[in-house]
Amino acid sequence: MQNLSSCQFNKYFVISSVSKACPHAVRRRFFDLGFTHGQKVKKVRSSLLGKVILVEIRGYLLSIRTSLAKFLEVEE
């Protein structure tokens, strides 16, 4: 199983789920922001040390800490 922090850049993936290991509040925030099952998502870039990534989802851009992005499970 891949997640958004380990997957390839500039390639579309599909969200399979938001891990239950993710803190409850953050998990709900991810749902609010549109990270739902089957949603197309793309990792656009990361910061110099890779602590944050920039993600494209539902037609807008969002930066997320890599430590949280690992809870976003994706498939090709």
Partner: protein, 698 residues
């Protein structure tokens, strides 16, 4: 009637609030500029309307501070109309909140605001409105005509109740959950609470006394978004364009260019503000003030009351000398605020937060702190308020406590007047150094706080990237005008009052005799002399400097104006500069070393009284007290260090000091190295196996 404005962050709610109510609240291209509700009453066509601006939120989840404020407001107040603002170019995610509002059975008007001129795709809003069952209105929140139309729409809508259709609700099987919603909940709100239970909302489960997990948060979000996808498919063109995407990011977010570019932009801002354009305007203003205001009035006064009277002294020293000098910095302060607001409005700050997240997360801050800290260059008091939207309490306290270390615009006159007197043209480096020192101290203090008393939790850094927005001329004028006005009001009230008080205390003795004629010791001189021995190790023991520091507790501008006052200066910066070299004056610096030390102390010692007030409101009395004490200590020791170091340099020259410093550093590093290797050896003995790491190294 009451109308509440609600919507996602950075969709133009406050812009709309301002145009609806003709107010002047602060807006910016950054999420969460509005942190608490603001209300204002207007009258439109004979009907009184109370307009309420709520903070921007993504859903009614009560997970963040803003969501708590907004959701609680909607739940606890009677709202006749809820105006839900959506961004035209980011409609999908915006509609998610709309569905939440409709689930709560509110009287919603969906207002689609077009912030960008360019539409990413065509949307048939009428069709969308028909599908949703609520009015959908397109507006431009900064356009007057458009806002008038909206007011009519609101009036026309208030008596109708919305008939929203939410077909996805039947997929959620709410009937099973209704049993858990207590009977006293009104019929209209039952759907909302049932869905909150499905989402496992801790607050609401606790309130209803429930413990079981429903674990349907994912399904709820999916149902809503699937419905939105269907709506968008029916009502809008297909588009592959991304909201907020820009080619500029390729350069500005480039891994290796991002930092240099940011530093270059900051350097340019400071150069333009303080040296080129700003300095020119400030000199011009000084000349004009002297020629047309102070000289004519003083010569008239001299004729009327004589130059030895206390009235003359009041005007000469307290008003023209002190306040006049502060006033000449108006162009620079206004320019600085203008540049900060341009940075804020352009959308660049979200990128800066992204770039700095790496470093700042290491010292226990978040990329979001960048916004607060940068605003601290303008005014700490208003900057501290922006720390409120940080998720983690400890990170918020830290950010708020670090903001006063950033050199605010009120400290700049001190650097110019005092530094200019001793360092001449190279003062530019002194000033740059002071700004840098403030940042370095802030970052190091954050690390110390993080390792000791204020450890921050793993923060959920999730930040939206808004599109870059061009700067509008209207906005530039507005910012310049507002800040000029604010500065003039501040000088005209607080600074002038403080200066008159300082003048009173420094011109009259404890027996209320006018010192200049009687030759006694003034109250401030007596007081300053009690405290001055404390500051002798820092190189500035004169009572005037110490009294100026005490006066500066109220507002930093007063430091310069008090110095001008004590030295009996009645004209601009150059006159202050020359008076500082005269040993017989109350304010006198023996050497450049003591000036440096004084500047460092001024930079760090105490946030102004207004900031302390805001701090204690935002983070509590305890942390404010601790923070202020630490600040005083840091200021004292750093100033002492700077003083002694620059004294050494003055005596021995750069070379010798640099060489011995490097020597000491080498000795220190080798000691550290020895300690570390000793520790490592101990570990290896403990594991009793051949250490793999060591073998690789050999």
């Amino acid at each position: 009637m009451r109308v509440s404005l609600i919507g996602n962050p950075n969709t133009g709610k406050t812009t709309l609030f301002n145009s609806l109510t003709l107010s002047n609240e602060h807006v910016g291209n950054w999420h969460g500029v509005t942190v608490e509700e603001k209300a204002k009453k207007i009258v439109w066509k004979g009907q009184e309307i109370e307009v309420v601006d709520l903070p921007g939120i993504y859903s009614l989840s009560r997970l963040s501070f803003e969501e708590k404020v907004a959701t609680d407001y909607l739940l606890s107040h009677q709202n006749d109309v809820v105006v839900n603002i959506c961004d035209y170019n980011n409609l999908e995610r915006n509609l998610y909140l709309t569905l939440g509002l409709l689930e709560l059975n509110l009287n919603v008007i969906v207002v689609v605001n077009q912030i960008e001129k360019k539409k990413l795709r065509k949307i048939n809003l009428q069709k969308l409105g028909a599908r949703l069952g609520v009015p959908v209105v397109a507006i431009d929140a900064s356009n007057k005509e458009s806002v008038k139309k909206l007011k009519d729409e609101i009036l026309a809508f208030k008596d109708k109740s919305s008939k929203a259709s939410l077909p996805y609700l039947k997929d959620l099987k709410l009937e099973k959950v209704f049993a858990f919603v207590p009977k006293h909940i009104a019929k209209g709100a039952r759907v909302f609470y049932a869905i909150k239970l499905l989402e496992d909302d801790e607050d609401i489960k606790q309130r209803f006394g429930l413990t079981q997990d429903f674990d349907q948060a994912e399904e709820v979000a999916k149902c809503r978004y699937d419905y939105i996808d269907r709506l968008i498919l029916e009502c809008a063109d297909k588009s592959s364009k991304i909201y907020g995407e820009s080619k500029l990011d390729k350069i500005l977010l480039n891994k290796f260019l991002a930092f240099p570019i940011f530093l270059l932009i900051l350097a340019l801002v400071f150069y333009l503000t303080f040296f080129s354009v700003g300095k020119f305007l400030s000199d011009l203003l000084a000349l004009a003030l002297d020629r047309f205001v102070s000289t004519p009035i003083l010569s008239w006064l001299e004729g009327a009351v004589g130059s030895s009277s206390w009235v003359y002294s009041l005007f000469e020293n307290a008003i023209f000398g002190g306040v006049g000098t502060v006033l000449t910095f108006l162009p620079q302060v206004a320019l600085l605020f203008l540049f900060l607001s341009i940075l804020e409005d352009s959308g660049y700050l979200s990128r800066v937060a992204f770039v700095f997240e790496d470093i700042l997360s290491k010292v226990g801050l978040s990329g979001k702190s960048v916004y607060t800290l940068l605003m601290g260059f303008g005014c700490s008091t208003s900057a501290i308020l922006t720390a409120r939207n940080m998720e983690d309490q400890n990170a918020k306290i830290k950010t708020a406590l670090l903001t006063p270390y950033m050199s605010c615009s009120a400290k700049f006159p001190i650097y110019v007047c005092l530094g200019g007197a001793f360092f001449g043209a190279s003062n530019i480096f002194v000033i740059m150094g002071l700004y840098l020192l403030g940042v370095v101290v802030a970052v190091s203090m954050s690390l110390i706080y993080e390792k000791t008393i204020l450890k921050s939790k793993e923060q959920s850094f999730i930040l939206e990237f808004p599109p870059y927005r061009p700067i509008r001329a209207k906005q530039v004028f507005k910012v310049l005008f507002d800040n000029t006005k604010e500065f003039l009001v501040r000088v005209g009230t607080l600074i002038i009052t403080m200066n008159v008080i300082v003048w009173l205390l420094s011109s009259f003795s404890f027996t209320f005799e006018f010192v200049e004629t009687s030759g006694g010791v003034s109250m401030l001189e007596g007081l300053g002399k009690i405290f001055s021995p404390i500051f002798a190790p820092l190189g500035f023991g004169s009572w005037g400097l110490v009294s100026a520091l005490i006066a500066g507790l109220i507002a930093k501008e007063v430091i310069v104006s008090s110095i001008a006052l004590f030295n009996g200066v009645d004209g601009g910066q150059s006159e202050i500069a020359s008076s500082l070299h005269n040993p017989s004056n109350p304010v006198y610096f023996a050497s450049g070393a003591s000036v440096l030390s004084y500047l460092v102390f001024c930079l760090l010692y105490f946030p102004c009284l207004a900031s302390v007030g805001v701090l204690s409101k935002e983070i509590g009395k305890k942390w404010t007290f601790i923070g202020v004490i630490i600040e005083l200590l840091v200021a004292y020791f750093l100033a002492m260090m700077v003083y002694n170091l620059s004294l050494l340099i003055e005596i021995f020259g750069w070379w010798k000091v640099a060489i011995s410093a490097i020597g000491m550093l080498i000795i220190l590093l080798s000691i550290c190295f020895v300690i570390r290797s000793v520790k490592r050896k101990k570990k290896c003995r403990g594991c009793q196996k051949p250490c793999t790491k060591r073998k690789k190294g050999e």
